[in-house]
C-alpha cells in the first residue's frame, strides 16, 4: 500500500480558524456516514454491518480535533466519526466499508475493524468495551516512554456496564495514567433505551476512584472541546485520568436497516433538534460555511470514487496478516 496516512485531509487543523475547521470536520463525518448509509440501501450495498454515529459528530471532533497524530484513541463499533476526526482518510475508510482491496484492512474487516496505528487509532471494535483495556495499556505505554502524549478512550453508556470500565478507572487512577475516559451517551443501547442499562449517573462514578467526573452537552462542539482540552492538559501534565460523559443523541437505529421502531416520532424529533452540525454552522460566516461544505462534498465524492474504482477484495486477502512470518 503506497498511500500515506501522514497528512489526512480529514481532521487535522487546516489553517482555517478552528471553529470553522471543527465545523468542517463534523460535516465530513456527517456526509461520510450519510453517503455510506445511502450505499447500504443501494443495490451493491455495503458488505457488512454499519453502526451510524450521525448526530454524535461533536463528541468525536471536539475530542480529537486538537490531538496530535502521536496521541492515541480507541473507538467502538460505532466509530466512523472517531476515525475520521483522528485523521483517517475518507477514501480508504470508504474503501474498507465497501469491501475494497484498498481499504485499511484490505476490505476484510469493514466498519468494526478499522485500526490505523500510524495515526494513533487503535481501532474501532466489535466487542463492546473491548477498547477500554487497550486504551489503558496504551496510556501505560506512553507513561513508560515518558511521552507527553495522551489517550482518549471512547465508549458508550451501554459499554459502561462492562467490568473493564471499572477495572480501567481504578488502575488509571492508581497509576495516574494519561487517559481521558469519554463516555458518549447517545441515549440508546442497541435495541432499547438506556434505562435498562445505567444505574445512577456515569460521570458521577469517577468520585469513587478520586477521578474527576465531568458532564457535558455532547451536541455543543465548544463545550466538548473545552472539557476534553482541560482533561487532556491534565493528562499531559501527569495528573491522571478524567471521566467525561457527553450527552448526545443517536439519530438512526442501532445499525443501518434497524428502524428503532420503539422510539416515538416526537422522541426522535426532539433528539435530532440538537443537531450539533447545524448548531456549529449557525455561529459561522455563511460564505465560509458554503466553501467548507463544497470542499467536503468534493472530498466525499473523491472518496466514493476511489472506493468504487478499487477492486472488490478477493479470497487472497483472507490469508494476509496473521503472523510476521506468514
Amino acid at each position: 500500500m503506497t498511500l500515506s496516512d501522514s497528512d489526512s485531509p480529514g481532521a487535522r487543523p487546516d489553517g482555517a480558524p478552528s471553529a470553522l475547521s471543527r465545523y468542517r470536520a463534523m460535516q465530513l463525518c456527517r456526509r461520510f456516514e450519510e453517503t455510506v448509509h445511502e450505499r447500504f440501501h443501494s443495490d451493491e450495498g455495503v458488505p457488512g454491518p454499519l453502526h451510524l454515529a450521525i448526530g454524535q459528530e461533536a463528541v468525536a471532533v471536539g475530542a480529537c480535533h486538537d490531538l496530535r497524530p502521536t496521541d492515541v484513541i480507541t473507538s467502538t463499533h460505532r466509530g466512523h466519526h472517531h476515525c475520521l476526526a483522528k485523521g483517517a482518510r475518507p477514501d480508504r475508510m470508504m474503501a474498507e466499508l465497501l469491501g475494497r482491496r484498498t481499504g485499511y484492512s484490505h476490505g476484510r474487516g469493514g466498519s468494526m475493524h478499522v485500526a490505523i496505528p500510524e495515526i494513533g487509532l487503535l481501532g474501532t471494535n466489535g466487542i463492546v468495551g473491548g477498547g477500554i483495556p487497550i486504551a489503558t495499556g496504551a496510556a501505560y505505554g506512553l507513561q513508560v516512554q515518558e511521552r507527553d502524549d495522551v489517550v482518549i478512550c471512547f465508549f458508550g453508556e451501554g459499554a459502561s456496564a462492562e467490568g473493564v470500565f471499572h477495572e480501567a478507572l481504578n488502575l488509571a487512577a492508581l497509576w495516574k495514567l494519561p487517559i481521558v475516559f469519554l463516555c458518549e451517551n447517545n441515549q440508546y443501547v442497541e435495541l432499547a433505551a438506556q434505562d435498562l442499562h445505567v444505574a445512577g449517573e456515569i460521570w458521577k462514578r469517577g468520585a469513587g476512584y478520586d477521578v474527576p467526573g465531568v458532564h457535558v452537552d455532547g451536541n455543543d462542539i465548544d463545550a466538548v472541546t473545552a472539557a476534553v482540552d482541560a482533561a487532556v492538559a491534565r493528562a499531559r501534565a501527569g495528573e491522571g485520568p478524567t471521566l467525561i460523559e457527553a450527552l448526545t443523541f443517536r439519530w438512526f437505529g442501532h445499525y443501518a436497516g434497524d428502524k428503532a421502531a420503539f422510539r416515538t416520532d416526537e422522541e426522535v424529533e426532539t433528539g435530532r433538534a440538537g443537531d450539533p452540525v447545524a448548531r456549529a454552522r449557525q455561529a459561522l460566516d455563511p460564505a465560509e460555511v458554503a466553501a467548507a461544505d463544497a470542499a467536503v462534498e468534493a472530498e466525499i465524492a473523491a472518496a466514493l470514487e476511489f472506493a468504487l474504482a478499487s477492486p472488490i477484495s478477493g479470497a487472497d486477502v483472507l490469508y494476509l496478516d496473521h503472523q510476521a512470518t506468514a
Binding site: 458488505p47 457488512g48 454491518p49 469491501g99 476490505g107 476484510r108 474487516g109 469493514g110 468494526m112 475493524h113 471494535n125 466489535g126 466487542i127 463492546v128 468495551g129 473491548g130 451501554g158 459499554a159 456496564a161 462492562e162 467490568g163 443501547v189 442497541e190 435495541l191 432499547a192 435498562l196 442499562h197 445505567v198 420503539f262 477484495s313 478477493g314 479470497a315 486477502v317 483472507l318 490469508y319 496473521h322
Partner: protein, 329 residues
C-alpha cells in the same frame, strides 16, 4: 425421523422460539436472561412476545455485563431456577469463561452432587457477515470441560428438541445455535413434546462406503455431497453428532468401523477441534477397520472476514466435502 408423524416446514429460529415458549409454559422455574431478549424481542427477533407472555422478571433484559449475565444463570440455578442464559454471539462467551468453566461446570463437583440446571444458548455467527469477532466456532473449548454438555443443532427440529432437553437437564448444557441457519426452513414433526435426547447422534443418511461426520452448517452440505456421490456409486453415511460433548461414540465409531472410511466436516478451524477429536477416537478405536486415512474438511487457519462472499469463500462447500470423500478411494 419417523415418516408417520405429520411434519411442518419451520424456520430454525421458530424451532428455538417454540422450545422457549413450551418450556416456560411447562415450568415456571424456567427464566430467560440476556441482552435485549425482552423488550426488544431479541437481537434476532426470536424471543418476540415472550416478555408480554411471561413477564419482565422471567424474561429479563440485562445490561451489557457478560460475566454477571452468566452469573445470573449460575446463582439463579443454585437457588431453584432453571435459567436459560442467552449469549448474543458465541464469541461473547469469552467474557464469561470463568463463570462457565470454573463455576457452573464444577458446581456439582464442589457441592458433592447438587444439580445446576443451567442452559446456555449461544448464537454462533457462522454464516453471518459480522466479522472476526462475531463468527468464531469455539465449541471445542467447552467440549474439553468436565461437567459441561454441548449440543449443536443443525436444523429446526433439533434446535427445538435439543433446547427442550437442555432445559430439563440437571447439569449445565451449552446449546450452540447458528446464525447462518436462522431463516432456513426444515421439517419439524408435529408432536406434543418434541424432545431430542442429549448424547444421541443423528444418522442423516445411511451408507456403506464412507462415513461423513458433519456439524452445524456443514450437515446439509454433507447430505448434498452424499446425493451427488450416490450418483457416482459412492454410498455415503452422513452423521450429525448433534451432541458434541459427550460424543455418541457408539453411533459414530460404529459407522466408521463398518465403512472403514471417515471424513469430518466442520466450520471450526482444524487445530484441537471436535474434528480432531473424532479422528483421534476413530483411529484409536477403529484402526484395524480403517481403509483410508480419516480426514478433516475445515476452513483454512485464518480469521473470519466480514463480507459474505469472502465468508463463503473460506468455508467448506458441498463440493469440498465431495472431493474429500472421493479422495478416500
Amino acid at each position: 425421523m419417523s415418516t408417520e408423524t405429520a411434519v411442518k416446514a419451520t424456520k430454525y429460529w421458530q424451532g428455538i422460539s417454540q422450545a422457549l415458549v413450551e418450556e416456560m409454559e411447562r415450568d415456571e422455574r424456567v427464566v430467560l436472561v440476556g441482552e435485549d431478549v425482552g423488550r426488544a424481542g431479541g437481537p434476532y427477533g426470536l424471543t418476540r412476545g415472550l416478555q408480554d407472555r411471561f413477564g419482565d422478571t422471567r424474561v429479563r433484559d440485562t445490561p451489557i455485563s457478560e460475566a454477571v449475565l452468566m452469573g445470573l444463570g449460575v446463582g439463579g440455578g443454585a437457588v431453584g431456577l432453571r435459567p436459560i442464559v442467552e449469549v448474543m454471539f458465541f464469541d461473547f462467551a469469552m467474557l464469561m469463561m470463568d463463570q462457565i468453566v470454573n463455576q457452573a461446570a464444577k458446581y456439582r463437583y464442589f457441592t458433592a452432587g447438587h444439580a445446576l440446571p443451567l442452559t446456555i444458548r449461544a448464537m454462533c455467527g457462522a454464516g453471518g457477515h459480522n466479522g472476526a469477532q462475531h463468527s468464531q466456532n469455539i465449541e471445542a473449548w467447552f467440549c474439553a470441560v468436565p461437567g459441561l454438555k454441548v449440543v449443536m443443532p443443525s436444523n429446526a427440529r433439533d434446535a427445538k428438541g435439543l433446547l427442550k432437553s437442555a432445559v430439563r437437564d440437571d447439569d449445565p448444557v451449552l446449546v450452540i445455535e447458528t446464525l447462518g441457519l436462522l431463516r432456513d426452513k426444515f421439517d419439524v414433526p408435529q408432536v406434543d413434546d418434541l424432545l431430542i435426547p442429549i448424547g444421541v447422534a443423528d444418522v442423516r443418511r445411511a451408507g456403506d462406503d464412507v462415513t461423513v461426520v458433519a456439524t452445524g452448517r456443514m450437515v446439509d452440505r454433507a447430505v448434498a455431497a452424499a446425493e451427488t456421490l450416490a450418483e457416482e456409486g459412492i454410498s455415503v453415511e452422513v452423521i450429525d453428532p448433534r451432541t458434541i460433548a459427550p460424543l455418541d461414540t457408539d453411533t459414530i465409531l460404529g459407522s466408521v468401523a463398518r465403512t472403514g472410511r471417515l471424513v469430518v466436516a466442520q466450520e471450526a478451524l482444524a487445530p484441537c477441534s471436535v474434528g480432531s477429536e473424532i479422528c483421534a477416537l476413530a483411529v484409536e478405536q477403529c484402526f484395524a477397520e480403517l481403509k483410508a486415512a480419516p480426514v478433516r474438511v475445515t476452513p483454512p487457519f485464518v480469521n473470519v472476514p466480514t463480507p459474505l462472499p469472502l465468508v463463503e469463500a473460506r468455508v467448506p462447500q458441498a463440493d469440498t466435502i465431495a472431493d474429500a470423500v472421493r479422495a478416500q478411494f
